[in-house]
């Protein structure tokens, strides 16, 4: 079972894996604390996965349950595929954090609380009538009660900070303690603090003092005897150079790489929206990489500018989340009709409407495949992890320019924000797919098609001798002149569809991720369910069950062997963070009796949820 088992055992507390969650008020700096613990953990050569969970409000009222921000990390000496089912160590910086996170703590798990924040007022705000530290609420857990607030203020006293600034260092105190608990080298945290506060040395020194004080607290004899410390040995990891990579970073670098491999300038356009904005922030500084970013006045302007960019010879990419994608829909139809390259990145979030902006969901699959007026086919590619996002984004760029089509690229809030160690590829190993713009006027027809790809030629305005007009009105299948002819419309509709379907010849056959073709059960997923499905299937296989894992990247068109592959199993189970979208597509496409397994509570699947569901079939 995944999710760690961090009870200190008597033989030196060696663990295969552990899950730690830092939870506090949104002003407590929990995301920074978690990121810093992740850095120290990566340096210790554990495999890991992280997941931040923060509120939609930027500054929710302090002390409230809806203002709680949390960061979870799962790390171990074996391959880590999810951010963990159950929490082994919960750091709760206030009563609200305890209230909202306690349910995820494993029985017997360790709670570290800052008693300094457990005032009557904060207890009331969190909705506790009695102090949970005293009324037996925490029976069955191990608890470490420390007045972090007071100890932090004392530790930073020499640096002359005001009381408020001094208290803000308490997240570093907590980090120091957890660094100690897992034997982490905190040098990397110190270096980061020095860099971050290079212009405010007093703040840097105070934070480092707090970090050291937390660590020193752990080192005291009493602490060690009572709670022990844990050892998570290094994982057996493929040699090479690594970095931590979030999904947003993976997509951003994949888009830059894709444009580079196509030999094009990247015009990236967006409008601020959670959780897609990260891409705009990551790409805006990359001006030295042939990237121009454009923050448009709205989602519609963003997609239109991207299409304008592609029309003029750049790779136009626009990005949003479901509600913003909905606004872009009409323009995407124009890119389909004018057959121009375009990549549309959808960082999916909970819906409908504004829904759960900071929570994850994969409920825009129908929108990606079907969500436009008329017969308007495009290609759909989905990534399944931060590292995979890099390669999948390159693939989206390749299809867009080769087939002169919009490509919908699906990621989600979980992948965007989650981080994992990434074996950095060598860019020189990637196969280039350089674009050739047509410049030869001889025999040029605007909608004449390449016999293999069915793509029309890409001509940049500014090219002598190739003057032409394009637009959304139906056009003649060769000349591109306006045509309302009935047979021509049938032909153009067929052409648009067949061009997209033809991509199936140009994508890898569907592989079986674990297991083999044929057998009892196939678990079929797409997107960010990769981690929990993968671990659930490997656990079941370790128990001797005949179950395989298939994960689909090319959602439209699908690999040509997929239908036969699915039919080779007795049962097909499709876990999704929606009410059953891929499962419907598979049933419609292949007439297979695929069964849904659905979850839409804003959180990724737990491994155990998939394992439990599989029991009925194995």
């Amino acid at each position: 079972m995944d999710g760690g088992s961090a009870a200190p055992d008597e033989s030196g507390n060696e663990l295969e894996s552990a899950v730690v969650r830092f939870a506090g008020d949104s002003g407590d700096g929990m995301q920074l604390t978690g990121t810093q613990f992740t850095q120290a953990t990566a340096m210790a050569r554990n495999d890991l996965a992280t997941f931040p969970d923060f509120p939609a409000e930027i500054r929710a009222p302090a002390g409230t349950t809806f203002g709680v921000s949390a960061f979870q990390i799962h790390f171990g000496s074996r391959t880590i595929r999810t951010s963990g089912d159950a929490v082994d160590v919960l750091v709760a910086m206030n009563p609200a954090a305890l209230k909202t996170n306690l349910d995820d703590l494993r029985k017997g798990g360790l709670i570290i609380v800052d008693t300094g924040s457990f005032s009557r007022r904060n207890l009331n705000k969190a909705g506790f009538e009695e102090n949970p530290l005293e009324d037996g609420t925490l029976d069955g857990y191990r608890k470490l009660e420390v007045d972090m607030t007071r100890m932090t203020v004392e530790a930073v006293k020499p640096f002359g900070l005001g009381n408020k600034d001094a208290q803000r260092c308490k997240n570093m105190w907590a980090l120091g303690l957890v660094d100690w608990l897992f034997g982490r080298d905190r040098t990397i945290n110190e270096d980061w603090l020095k860099q971050k506060f290079a212009r405010k040395p007093a703040i840097a020194d105070a934070n480092i003092a707090a970090l050291n004080a937390g660590h020193a607290f752990g080192e005291t004899a009493d602490m060690a005897r009572e709670f022990g410390s844990f050892v998570v040995p290094p994982a057996d990891i493929q040699p090479g150079t690594y970095r931590a990579l979030t999904g947003a970073e993976g997509v951003a670098m994949g888009l830059v790489a894709g444009a580079r491999l196509a030999g094009l300038h990247l015009l990236f356009t967006g409008y601020p929206i959670t959780p897609a904005s990260a891409l705009l922030h990551l790409l805006a500084p990359l001006k030295d990489y042939g990237v121009t970013t454009f923050q448009a006045e709205d989602e519609i302007a963003a997609v239109c500018a991207a299409i304008g960019g592609s029309y003029a010879g750049a790779l136009g990419v626009t990005s949003s989340s479901g509600p913003g994608i909905a606004l872009k829909t009409e323009a995407i139809g124009l890119a389909i009709a004018t057959e121009l390259p375009l990549v549309v990145v959808n960082s999916q979030r909970g819906g409908p409407s504004t829904g759960l902006p900071t929570k994850t969901e994969q409920s825009d699959l129908y929108q990606a495949i079907y969500g436009r007026n008329a017969d308007s086919p495009l290609a759909v590619v989905a990534c399944h992890s931060p590292g995979d996002a890099y390669f999948a984004a390159i693939e989206a760029c390749r299809l867009a320019v080769k087939y002169m089509t919009p490509v919908m690229f699906l990621t989600d809030g979980y992948i965007s924000n989650a981080a994992e160690p990434w074996l950095i590829p060598d860019f020189e190993d990637h196969e280039p797919f350089p674009v050739t713009f047509r410049t030869d006027p001889e025999g040029y027809q605007v909608y004449a098609r390449d016999p293999e790809t069915m793509a029309r030629a890409w001509v940049k305005p500014g090219t002598p001798g190739l003057l032409h007009r394009i637009g959304g009105i139906e056009k003649h299948h060769l000349t591109g002149d306006i045509s309302y002819d009935a047979d021509n419309h049938q032909e153009m509709t067929d052409n648009r569809l067949n061009k997209i379907l033809g991509i199936a010849k140009d994508i890898p056959a569907q592989a079986v991720d674990q297991g083999q073709a044929g057998g009892r059960v196939a678990v079929v997923g797409w997107g960010s369910t990769y981690g929990p499905i993968s671990r659930a299937v490997s656990n079941k296989r370790a128990q001797g069950h005949d179950v395989s894992h298939i994960h689909i990247r090319h959602i439209r068109p699908m690999p040509p062997n997929l239908g036969d592959l699915l039919k080779s199993y007795d049962a097909v189970i499709v876990p999704e963070m929606n009410t059953g979208q891929l499962v419907t597509v598979l049933r419609a496409e292949y007439l297979v009796d695929a069964k849904p397994l659905n979850k839409v509570n804003g959180k990724p699947f737990r491994i155990v949820e998939i394992e439990d569901a599989l029991k009925a079939w194995l």
Partner: protein, 343 residues
């Protein structure tokens, strides 16, 4: 950079072989003719010229221009044009749209293309009606306009295109009239020469759904009295015998019309048009019959140092020049903290 060479073409060289599908007598024909003449006068390179449009009668324009053309979606032409200019700032980009396209569904994009100062020439054909959808009132229709959607008369106030443009800091604002072939091509050449967003309202008669709505100032008989041709450095004088001029009412800070030679009003008292003066430009834009003539010409022109896309690309270049990695992909992939895992 593409060097634009005078192409030595005649207006008809800018016409396509496509059948023009506007209603017979539509003002759009006259505008098309004026644009083609302006292109020839400028010596525009057809290969380097792009006409971008949204949806509506006016938006069919690109199909009739022997240049590059992109007929896009309703209201969004300025956004496409922005993407085109960000990708290739050397292209001559013209945006063409109607009053519904540019001020209703696309009002937001018009606003932002203007205030960003994207180097495009925006031609807004204002016929005060929705033509292609069969005659509904538009955001520029006058109060009380009866139409299929307002059978008892419209009750919402119209927007004045040029006041709107000036309100969002347009740096080139002009007005022309479809019937004024003597005036319009020169105006378009001025718009083209302006570096930055040039916004031109062209009064255009819809012969089917709003015929004659501009007659009171476009009919030949009243032209001299009801149109004022603003020209930089010239006194704002109009009238059949050039007997009327504009002056400032110091009490109301508004313009007023006065007759030369009456009450001691002499040519020296007439306001001299200064197209770099935003206050004068705004006052001229607002003038409405019957108390005032309609001002045509370049009402305001004050170019910025750099247009939006030039500034974006200059910033890109400045940052890129300073970047040590010079775009090396492997450097990008290795950014931030990395660590080695030994074999």
């Amino acid at each position: 950079m593409n060097v634009q060479t005078p192409a030595n073409l005649s207006p008809k060289d800018y016409a396509t072989d496509q059948e023009v599908r506007w209603c017979p007598g539509c003002g759009d024909y006259a505008i098309l003719k004026a644009v083609q003449k302006a292109m020839a006068d400028i010596g525009a390179d057809p290969a380097n010229t792009v006409f971008v449009s949204g949806i509506g009668c006016a938006a069919r324009f690109p199909y009739y221009m022997e240049t590059y053309g992109f007929h896009t979606i309703h209201g969004r032409a300025p956004s496409f044009a922005t993407g085109i200019k960000l990708t290739n700032p050397d292209l001559d980009v013209w945006v063409v749209g109607g009053d519904g396209d540019g001020l209703s569904i696309g009002g937001n994009h018009t606003l932002h293309a203007i205030r960003r100062n994207v180097d495009i020439s925006y031609l807004l054909f204002n016929n005060e009606i929705y033509g292609l959808t069969k005659g509904q009132y538009s955001p520029t229709s006058r109060l009380g306009t009866r139409s299929p959607s307002t059978p008892h008369g419209s009750i919402d106030s119209p927007v004045d295109a040029l006041s709107f443009a000036l309100g969002v800091n347009a740096r080139f604002v002009a007005r022309g009239i479809d019937r004024r072939q003597d005036h319009l091509p020169g105006l378009l050449a001025r718009a083209h020469a302006h570096k930055g967003c040039s916004f031109v309202e062209i009064i255009q008669n819809c012969i089917v759904y709003n015929d004659g709505v501009f007659e009171h100032f476009t009919e030949k008989a009243v032209t001299a009295d009801m149109q004022l041709e603003a020209e930089h450095g010239q006194p704002l004088i109009f009238g059949k015998n050039r007997e009327k001029g504009l002056r400032l009412n110091r009490q109301t800070l508004e313009l007023e019309v006065a007759t030369l030679g009456e009450d001691g009003f002499s040519e020296d008292d007439v306001i001299v048009h200064d197209e770099t003066n935003r206050t004068i430009g705004g006052a001229l834009a607002r003038m409405k019959p019957p108390d005032f003539p309609v001002a045509i010409g370049v009402l305001y022109c004050a170019p910025a140092e750099m247009s939006y896309e030039r500034a974006v690309l200059a910033q890109n270049r400045a940052i890129a020049d300073k970047a040590p990695a010079a775009g090396d992909m492997n450097t990008l992939l290795h950014r931030g903290s990395t660590w080695e895992v030994a074999a």
